[in-house]
Symmetry: C2
Subunit: 196 residues, 2 copies
């Protein structure tokens, strides 16, 4: 049984679905997921692959698709959520600190819930501090550390690692060198991890 | 039980998966699919939504993803198939004639098989004439009719109809006004058709 790396950026809309359903899937499958925040916007700009910018028809479809799939997972988001997120980088710097300190999963879920279920953009206030408080972190301390050179560099290194693996969008699942892109490929990644 | 409109363009890579597995799904589900060829390239240019142009990482992923999913469906394509197709419009003009004359499904499957399994681009020779001969049509007669103003106009009208429904990519499934985009949404469309 392999481990699956779950590459994501807070700021990705479809990643909401994965972030919310992953803990239950992890329990049910017995497969371990490693949460790996990275800066998908950096990769998208570099690869000239901006999926929704100036594409109103595709964007409207994306929201409807997320709404339908959220319902099928028993989730109840306010659609559309604020998008795109100006604070994407800071949101993922905080998550990167959370990897170091062991609270990345709780923070990511808390910030997504506020973003998608209360309409508060992730990566800015009040979302960041409220999410940190909710999971038992000191917002001032965490925000200072998240904006340090060390964490900036760690996020850049994770983004480079993702790119080198062939990850170009969020969410992506990497298992034994195979990339699966999209919340809708999570089950395929699981099958791969279990040896198909 | 609703009918599902299956909107597609010969020229779309992911549509290979749907084209090959749809007849079996139709039999197993009892849901009727109406095959609706349209010109996805026209829509993509109009909406500035060109999914793979100048995106080598995303394109490499697309082929690997199709290869894995084809295997899971018991298909054995030669990956990558020639892409993009210069003859996209002509291929879909022939399919549009096939709608009128009742052989659209057989032609679409024959031309995709040659394109994906033998490496012969659809929309050009020898693929077009061989596919037509295989399904019992006279290639010279069909090609002349497919390039008539009547069929050109019918393809343009279908493309306009697809756009007005909110279809922006191929394959897409439309059921009761709901659009489902991608071979990986076929099962969602089926559930919708069955009243969920």
């Amino acid at each position: 049984m392999s481990q699956i790396d779950f590459w994501y950026s807070i700021g990705s809309t479809y990643s909401y679905l994965t972030v919310m359903r992953l803990p239950e899937i992890e329990r049910a499958s017995g497969v371990e997921f490693k949460w790996r925040p990275f800066d998908v916007r950096h990769v998208m700009i570099e690869q000239k692959n901006i999926p929704f910018k100036d594409k109103p028809v595709k964007t409207a479809y994306m929201w409807r698709d997320i709404e339908r799939r959220a319902e099928s997972y028993g989730l109840d988001p306010r659609i559309p959520a604020p998008y795109p997120l100006p604070g994407l980088v800071l949101a993922n710097q905080v998550a990167t600190l959370g990897v170091e300190e062991g609270w990345v999963v709780n923070y990511t879920r808390a910030t997504y819930r506020r973003w998608f279920e209360r309409g508060e953009p992730a990566g800015e206030e009040p979302n960041i501090s409220e999410s940190l408080r909710e999971i038992g972190c000191d917002p001032a301390k965490a925000l200072a550390a998240a904006q340090s050179d060390r964490i900036e560099n760690a996020l850049a290194a994770a983004t480079k690692e993702a790119t080198e693996l062939g990850v170009f969008g969020s969410p992506a699942f990497v298992v034994d060198g195979e990339v699966f892109w999209g919340d809708d490929r999570l089950e395929d990644a699981l099958l791969w991890a279990k040896g198909r």
